[in-house]
């Protein structure tokens, strides 16, 4: 209540007083750190982005940029199938992120709140960091030998009867790319989710049980809402990495699964900077729409900011 008093006073202040010191009132009301941050953000993010948008209206001829505005580069994005590349990349990135979320949440829940001993927890977390010591291409290339037609997977699947004898294997397909990305990005999703779940106070879970909630109700009404910051961080990290995937589509997709990074690299080889600018513009626009949708959907399910209170503890 005490905080609302100055507001009320400001509202009832005589207009003549406000008119005498309009700037002082205005300056006093500005949240300076926030304003500085917004200005810096505008200069560091929005201005370069506007530059990128402008650049997308130029084109490249014989390795040199022609600074005559035209729609040619934009037309080429659609004619060459690069627009489909964006959609394909988004589709694969979202699928991988969704699968990771389900796997990582279940795994983290077991690790953080299950009956695993401290030693098991410590060992599991240590094992999760092992992949970071090895280069991604070295890790991925091993799957080529396993998933290929002369690898051990095909005889195994044929033995179970899942695959026809003489099959060419799942290498060089979208399946293989999904598979490689899910393996590679698991720690990226799991680590933030695990930290968020382990921060959920056990007494809250006990209280929920004592009040007669079923395990499902405790999960959906206590654990999931309180672990949302970690889930959101995990989604953002995983989605970002999946959108930028480069090694898996090249090595496991056999060049047939053309994703954004490959397409960008190809444009760069002919120094087609305007194409890169147009692709960037499109992606930022699509992501902007998605984030907006995310926020709107999130609002329907309650106050997202309240979830972040868990971080204060």
């Amino acid at each position: 209540m005490s905080t609302s008093i100055p507001d009320t006073q400001a509202q009832v202040a005589p207009p003549s007083l406000a008119a005498k010191t309009p700037w002082r009132t205005l300056l006093g009301r500005i949240d300076w750190p926030l304003a500085l941050f917004l200005v810096a953000w505008f200069i560091a993010v929005v201005v370069p982005l506007l530059g990128v948008v402008v650049y997308s209206f130029f084109e490249t001829k014989s390795f040199f940029t022609v600074y005559t505005p035209s729609l040619n580069t934009w037309a080429s994005i659609f004619d060459s199938g690069r627009f489909e590349v964006i959609l394909r990349t988004l589709r694969i990135a979202f699928t991988v992120t969704a699968v990771e979320l389900v796997l990582a949440f279940a795994f983290s829940l077991w690790l953080a709140k299950g009956r695993a001993s401290r030693t098991v927890k410590a060992m599991t977390l240590a094992l999760m960091t092992v992949p970071f010591f090895l280069d991604l291409s070295s890790r991925t290339i091993i799957w080529r030998a396993i998933l290929g037609e002369n690898g051990p997977l095909i005889p195994l699947l044929t033995g179970i009867g899942l695959v026809e004898p003489g099959s060419a294997g799942i290498l060089y397909s979208e399946w293989a790319v999904h598979f490689g990305m899910i393996i590679a990005l698991f720690p990226t999703m799991m680590l933030p989710v695990y930290i968020a779940i382990s921060l959920v106070d056990d007494t809250l879970i006990d209280a929920s049980n004592d009040l007669g909630a079923s395990p499902w109700q405790t999960l959906t009404r206590v654990v999931i809402p309180l672990s949302l910051p970690g889930v959101i961080a995990g989604i953002l990290f995983t989605l970002g990495s999946a959108m930028a995937a480069w090694v898996e589509p090249s090595m496991l997709g056999g060049g047939f699964v053309n994703l954004l990074s490959n397409s960008i690299e190809s444009a760069y080889s002919a120094l087609r900077y305007p194409v890169l600018a147009a692709l960037t513009t499109l992606i930022v626009m699509i992501l902007g729409v998605l984030v907006l949708a995310f926020v709107l959907i999130g609002r329907r399910f309650g106050d997202l900011s309240s979830s972040f209170r868990v971080l204060r503890s």
Binding site: G81, R144, Y172, N258, S266, S269, A270, L271
Partner: protein
């Protein structure tokens, strides 16, 4: 301001004094400096130094061999092999200020030559003694000249590329040297689903064009620099073949070429010749072969180009000595033996190997390379890595990848 200039003068003077005293201390340098001789004379005592920048594999494994032969020392900075990167390095980073020789994959001369960033090669330079005897297909090729025929470089290494294959899987005699058709890559029912095709548009599009023009009997204006409408035709053909399941996979690195062959994942692959050599070391002699073709080859090459700034340097004679060394037998023989690369004047390499007591086997390999190059170069060749239609070729290639 005045005070500042005085203090700057003092700083310069004291620096000069310091340098002079350091030189005096060095003893050997003291006399020429005191007599005020030109700086270049200082180098007369030791070998001249030439600074190179470019493709790592163009280097000798040990440059001291060259220093012993021609009295020039090489300081080489190696880089990857990407024309886009070369252009960026030379134009944006002003590398010509510090570099005497660029060794790049062909193509940059088309863009940097006419813009005055490269120094034209003086083919009459006294140090370039091997120029006259170097065959035209090397010294006047598009690797070292621009479209107008201006000489911007000296050939360093090169080859004519085709495809590797397993003779036994195609029912071919492994010892036969008959010319095969590129249809084995694109069209042959025997190889459907058993082909790997290189993912690099600059490499694969010209090869496809070479085959398509012989198939349809309608030649393209230039297979390596296709007009937009021609590129569309070639890509339509490739999309049709891709949909028919001709290609098992697309590869994008030398390591992948080796892996695909040595795992027997594919029967045919358009690849670099050293890949076949590597695979045969693993699978046995002649397990895979590199094709002689009916329609022609993709000719690639690395050239040595000079930045325009080098024209005013004191070591220009030494630079030309190195250019001449690239054409000579020692460099050729060592590059062929250590890296498996061919280049101009292979006969000089054979002579060098004989004079220096190389084994009969090594000499035979060099002779074989010489014979092979001569045979391949008698066929149609396509070559250039900076086509003027690069933008439309790259764009249409995306259509193939996305189809």
């Amino acid at each position: 301001m005045k005070e500042k200039s005085v203090s700057q003068l003092q700083l310069q003077r004291s620096r000069r004094d310091f340098l002079r005293s350091a030189a005096l201390g060095a003893g050997a340098l003291a006399l020429p400096l005191a007599l005020d001789l030109p700086a270049s004379r200082l180098w007369a005592a030791g070998p001249a130094t030439v600074r190179g920048y470019g493709v790592t594999t163009s280097q000798l494994k040990d440059w001291s061999v060259m220093t012993q032969s021609i009295g020039v020392q090489m300081e080489f900075t190696g880089t990857g092999n990407d024309v886009g990167v070369f252009l960026r390095d030379v134009v944006a980073s002003g590398l010509g200020d510090q570099t005497d020789i660029f060794v790049f994959e062909a193509g940059t001369q088309d863009i940097l030559g006419p813009r005055g960033i490269y120094l034209p090669i003086d083919t009459q330079h006294p140090a370039l003694t091997l120029w006259e005897r170097t065959p035209d297909e090397w010294k006047h090729s598009r690797v070292v000249q621009d479209a107008e025929g201006n000489q911007w470089g000296v050939p360093v290494i090169g080859n004519a590329d085709s495809f590797g294959y397993f003779p036994e899987k195609l029912g071919l005699d492994p010892n036969s040297e008959e010319e095969l058709s590129w249809s084995l890559v694109f069209d042959d029912p025997r190889t459907r689903g058993r082909v790997s095709f290189d993912r690099t548009w600059g490499y694969s599009l010209p090869m496809a064009a070479l085959y398509l023009q012989s198939k349809t009997g309608k030649p393209f204006s230039n297979c390596a620099d296709l007009q937009p409408e021609e590129t569309r035709q070639v890509v339509d053909f490739l999309i049709e073949r891709k949909r028919a399941g001709q290609f098992r996979t697309l590869h994008s690195s030398f390591e992948e070429q080796i892996q695909l062959l040595s795992n027997r994942e594919v029967d045919v692959i358009n690849c670099w010749e050293p890949a076949v050599r590597e695979v045969n070391l693993k699978l046995g002699k002649d397990a895979t072969r590199y094709a002689y073709t009916q329609e022609g080859y993709y000719k690639w090459g690395h050239g040595a180009y000079l930045p325009v700034q080098a024209g005013d340097r004191d070591n220009l004679d030494a630079i030309y000595k190195v250019l001449n060394y690239y054409l000579g037998g020692e460099y050729r023989a060592l590059q062929a033996r250590d890296r498996g690369y061919a280049g101009p004047n292979m006969d000089l390499a054979v002579a060098y190997a004989r004079e220096n007591g190389w084994s009969a086997e090594d000499i035979a390999t060099l002779e074989e390379t010489e014979r092979k190059i001569a045979r391949k170069f008698s066929k149609p060749l396509v070559s250039t890595t900076t086509p003027s239609n690069a933008d439309s070729m790259e764009e249409q290639w995306q259509r193939f990848l996305n189809a």
